[in-house]
Symmetry: C2
Subunit: 338 residues, 2 copies
DNA sequence: GTGAAAGCGCTAACAT
DNA sequence: ATGTTAGCGCTTTCAC
């Protein structure tokens, strides 16, 4: 690869002149003809500024890490797209982190950041991580932004309006006339699960409808956990007529298990999920879901990190725009007369 | 962050001594006590070797790029896992590339490689890319390994045994007594689609069963395209009793469209997909599929790149181990008597 | 308007 | 056994 001095040699000028021209230094007083000579030489040699050289000089790589337990999870599609888009806009490249390496005391984080491989990082912990594991990371005051993973309002996190999302799903069922409504929720130690549960409970309470503890599970967000949860709730003597499922993957599992049990959805049971994904369109029946602004969440996360790295005030911690939106498909229906 | 000279200062030695010790230079003759002093100083200062410094020195970053049109696609899950695993083993970190940036003449590639941001890259093109766009990239002789994207046997690509996979799917249907078998294939200009089609045709021919052109589509690998393809094939006057679908996402769409048309799967129609994914377990009925060794494909891709970068001979271009495996679920059945 | 030189953090060849 | 130094590619201050 051609270096600055290669270009300088070919243009018959000094490296500093080349540097000034090629990096468009604002107050570089360079004569038009040398400027053109330099430009030409650079073009002919196909010059590219060396990344390591710049990084060393600036102590900055313009690379940020994206750490998530499972990037291929369908419900992260929009999130990742949002992150990629905003990262590109902010001039960042994305390094992939394996979140399993997140466990032992933030070793990866300190490597990535400590070695100067990345300027900062975005972390989305799955529902498998324990809060305690994160705490020291949070406290370490590293350039890290958590995505829907930690307490809202914490300095270094962006979150969804999970309460509102779950509330909307619940409200939808209430408006369909359901009163016996269950909640298949996420693991109890995760923030998202707590907030969605809170949204569910608040909406039920506001409607004056009691929420039966027997119809609420905290099994998790995978399809298998959704299957298990549905079986647990629907094989009781008294079963609900509708379910809010706190995650789209779990809802897909729940739908399948319902069929296995001979339950007709939405005839016998209405199901609405929090989170949308392309997979929700392809279930049978197609799954009604509350679409959360994942794209914007991704963008907000990158922007938060950007602001953090540039000592700017962070704008919004909770992403409420656009608001969660009900994607009405075919897994919910008016409560039929008993 | 602490630098080498910080450590040297604290240990009361020179930077080179520190460098030697901390990078375990093999023939570094350093007295045990200074060695220990250096180690201690480094520990106390929480020293981490600076990435940019090393990269500049070695002209090597130990970072490789992973470029794919849609990393969140469920059928890539295993691939990505394999890549991550092997990359970690080879000491590589992964940079995310957006494959949409791949289009205009390999601009991204030359940036990534030309600026020395990555040592090489892994490219999985979706079925949307045209072969021509890739050609110049292939010809450019850059450190690029294509994943199931270009002609088998090409120096810089690893591929699945797509023919075999499609053949196994076809064979499965034949063994169930089906003779009227269709193929919902990928876009005709892609290699994977061609190879799977070839495998389908070869197996049909070997069984002495004619393949009806009317029952073969080349619409693509998305769920929507699967829906369209199924409708096209199954609304003809004479319809097949079984379908091979060349991709799991398309098969999921096909399954859904079949239901919409009032077709019972597998009663009226058997469906088998090439490629497996977790989503195949959650369709209704659960989708029978041929599981391709995606994990190993990912590993092989990284190894191929590693070998390429270290001037070693590349081992295997087509990943045949383990062989494709039929995941027998519930979307296929014996041909019922007419 | 242009060039020389220092220095970012690191390694390795070459002193001592 | 340890230290000095040059240089990887780049930017920037300071001279001229």
């Amino acid at each position: 690869m051609a270096t600055l001095s290669d270009v300088a040699l070919r243009a018959g000028v000094s490296v500093s002149a080349v540097s000034r021209v090629l990096s468009d230094a604002p107050e570089a007083r360079v004569s038009p003809q040398t400027r053109e000579r330099i430009r030409a030489a650079a073009r002919e040699l196909n010059y590219r500024p060396n990344f390591a050289g710049r990084a060393l000089k600036f102590s900055r790589t313009d690379v940020i890490a994206l750490v998530a337990p499972d990037l291929t999870n369908a419900f992260l599609t929009e999130l990742v797209l949002g992150v990629e888009e905003e990262a590109a806009r902010c001039g960042y490249m994305l390094l992939l982190g394996r979140s399993e390496d997140l466990k032992p005391g933030g070793e990866m984080v300190s490597r990535l950041v400590g070695e100067g491989r990345v300027d900062g990082m975005l972390v989305q912990v799955g529902d498998t991580s324990r809060l305690e594991d994160l705490q020291e990371l949070v406290d370490a005051d590293l350039p890290v932004v958590f995505i829907n993973s930690v307490e809202a309002g914490h300095a270094s996190g962006v979150v969804l309006d999970d309460e509102r999302g779950a509330g909307m799903a619940t409200q939808h069922l209430l408006e369909l006339g359901h009163r016996d409504i269950g909640l298949l929720g996420g693991l109890p130690h995760t923030w998202t699960a707590r907030r969605r549960r809170a949204g569910f409970l608040a909406t039920m309470r506001a409607a004056g409808v009691p929420a039966a503890r027997n119809w609420m599970t905290t099994l998790g967000y995978t399809a298998q956990q959704g299957r298990d949860a549905l079986r647990r709730v629907m094989t009781r003597p008294a079963a609900p007529t509708a379910l809010v499922v706190a995650n789209v993957n779990a809802a897909i599992g729940a739908l399948q298990e319902a069929r296995r049990l001979g339950l007709d959805v939405p005839g016998d049971l209405s199901v609405v999920a929090v989170h949308d994904a392309w997979t929700a369109e392809n279930t049978w029946p197609p799954l009604t879901a509350v679409k959360m602004p994942m794209h914007q969440l991704g963008q907000a996360a990158v922007r938060a990190l950007y602001n953090r790295l540039h000592a700017l005030p962070v704008e919004d911690h909770v992403v409420a725009d656009p608001a969660p939106r009900l994607m009405l498909r075919e897994s919910t229906r008016f409560l039929s007369a008993p």
